[in-house]
């Protein structure tokens, strides 16, 4: 139980930088003046907890742990005795500089990501419609077969657009177009269909309508037909196409 809770929250961090930002936030410390001892301790607590819970600690977290330790020990080293420019020097050579810079850089994009998320949600509130089919109007887009100036990203982009739109459309359309087919009717259809050819038919061909209710009814109809020994279902080997044929066909083959 506890384990699950940890698991969920581990997913909440996007890496060692994210974790560090969180710790800094939690400890209410100044990002420009991080107390290394404290932050290292907290960080190691976290890593140890992950180990105790036998969670896979990604290598990035371990590298960061080593980095923190290194910075901590460098901070403990006595400073050079150069009193006249100590301030400037110690500022420039603060062993934390690089880490702080990274944290700040990362935090910038983390915030930008939050903003993008808002934009995405906002945009998700608006719905569009697909382009009309202009069949009958234009000549094809095709004449003069020059090479297409489209690439795979155009294809993926178009598909993404479709999927965004479809979120709204699909349920709408099934709701409207649903036609209740009875299992009895579907059994008759399937049996006729299967009997129509002497060769076995692929199982998947028994689901011509890509709609859940119709598919479910079709499946139940197939089960019922199998139970009544009106059709046979066979599969030559694992993962090969499941084939369906009438029992008549099978007995004929058996006899010959």
């Amino acid at each position: 139980m506890i384990c699950m809770e940890y698991n969920v929250k581990l997913d909440g961090f996007e890496g060692p930088l994210d974790l560090l930002l969180h710790l800094i936030q939690g400890l209410e410390i100044d990002i420009y003046d991080i107390p290394m001892a404290e932050i290292s301790e907290q960080y190691m607590l976290y890593i140890r907890a992950m180990n105790v819970l036998e969670l896979n600690v990604a290598s990035e977290y371990l590298v960061m742990a080593a980095t923190l330790m290194a910075i901590k020990s460098r901070m403990l080293l006595p400073k050079h005795e150069e009193p006249w420019e100590e301030d400037a020097l110690s500022y420039e050579e603060d062993p934390r500089d690089e880490l702080v810079e990274k944290l700040i850089e990362y935090r910038k994009y983390k915030k930008a990501a939050d903003h993008l998320k808002d934009k995405e949600l906002e945009r998700g509130q608006l719905f569009t419609k697909p382009p009309e089919d202009l069949t009958g109007y234009a000549p094809d887009e095709t004449d003069g077969r020059e090479p297409l100036k489209v690439d795979i990203y155009d294809l993926l982009g178009a598909f993404n657009k479709l999927m965004r739109r479809k979120k709204i459309q699909r349920p709408l359309s099934t709701k409207i177009t649903r036609q209740d087919v009875s299992i009895e009717d579907r059994m008759k259809e399937i049996l006729e269909n299967v009997k129509a050819s002497k060769d076995p038919k692929p199982f998947s061909s028994l689901f011509p309508v890509a709609e859940k209710p119709h598919m479910v009814v079709s499946f139940l109809a197939v089960l019922e037909l199998v139970k009544r020994k009106e059709i046979w279902i066979k599969q030559d080997q694992n993962f090969s196409e499941i084939m369906v044929q009438t029992t008549e066909g099978v007995s004929l083959v058996g006899q010959s």
Binding site: F127, T128, K129, P130, P131, E132, D133, L134, T135, Y137, A138, P139, D140, E141, T142, D143, G144, R145, E146, P147, L148, K149, V150, D151, I152, D154, L155, L156, G157, A158, F159, N160, K161, L162, M163, R165, K166, K167, I168, Q169, R170, L172, S173, K175, I176, T177, N193, K201, S204, S205, L206, F207, P208, A210, E211, K212, P213, M215, V216, F219
Partner: protein, 194 residues
């Protein structure tokens, strides 16, 4: 319901439902209004669209369903738009259709239209004459509809060696798709029987 203008709500609903259209019952549901009230609203909207010269769309009623359509007078402009030269690229409609065929082949036009939610005659025609798709045979079942798949020309145009090089779709999309197509058939079955 509250503060929103009922005509605006109806327009947004009509707009999103596209070719599928909306039945009186659906409108009654969403608006929580009686049939008479809905009919009255629809009559008003129809009038408004017709009356206003600055409107290019109208309310039509096919097969007991309301939908929006462009007014008749504008077909010349739409034709011009369709004819505008864009020879070297594909329209959004064609790209969508091609994507569906590439990922779902062999697939019928009805299945494509089911996914896209609109008629897809022209995109299929375009893709055929471009040599990007071809007929693979015919599906079983009523009408034995034509099955479409992509061609070598398609692979060429998109710089692919074979279909396995198509980028994998994100999982969320796969799920969406499975619902339509039946790859995850047993998933749907389970849901259906619950």
């Amino acid at each position: 319901m509250a503060s929103h203008n009922v005509y605006a709500i109806v327009e947004s609903l009509l707009f999103t439902s596209g070719d599928e259209g909306l039945t009186v019952e659906q409108l009654m549901d969403v608006l929580t209004l009686s049939e008479d009230e809905v009919l009255k609203i629809m009559a008003t909207i129809r009038e408004q669209y017709l009356q206003e010269d600055s409107r290019g769309i109208q309310l039509v009623e096919y097969a007991e369903k309301y939908q929006l359509a462009t007014k008749a007078g504008f077909s010349d402009y739409i034709k011009q738009l369709a004819e505008a030269p864009s020879p070297a690229t594909l329209s959004q409609a064609s790209l969508e259709t091609l994507a569906i065929i590439a990922y779902r082949q062999p697939v019928t036009k009805v299945a494509i239209e089911e996914i896209r939610g609109v008629k897809t005659d022209r995109p299929v025609q375009t893709l055929l004459s471009r040599g990007l798709i071809k007929e693979l045979g015919r599906a079983e079942g009523a009408g034995r509809p034509i099955l479409y798949g992509t061609t070598d020309e398609f692979l060429d145009s998109f710089g692919l060696n074979n279909l396995t090089e198509l980028p994998e779709l994100p999982e969320s999309m796969d799920e969406d798709d499975a619902d339509q197509g039946g790859d995850l058939f047993f998933e749907s079955l389970k849901k259906g029987l619950e």
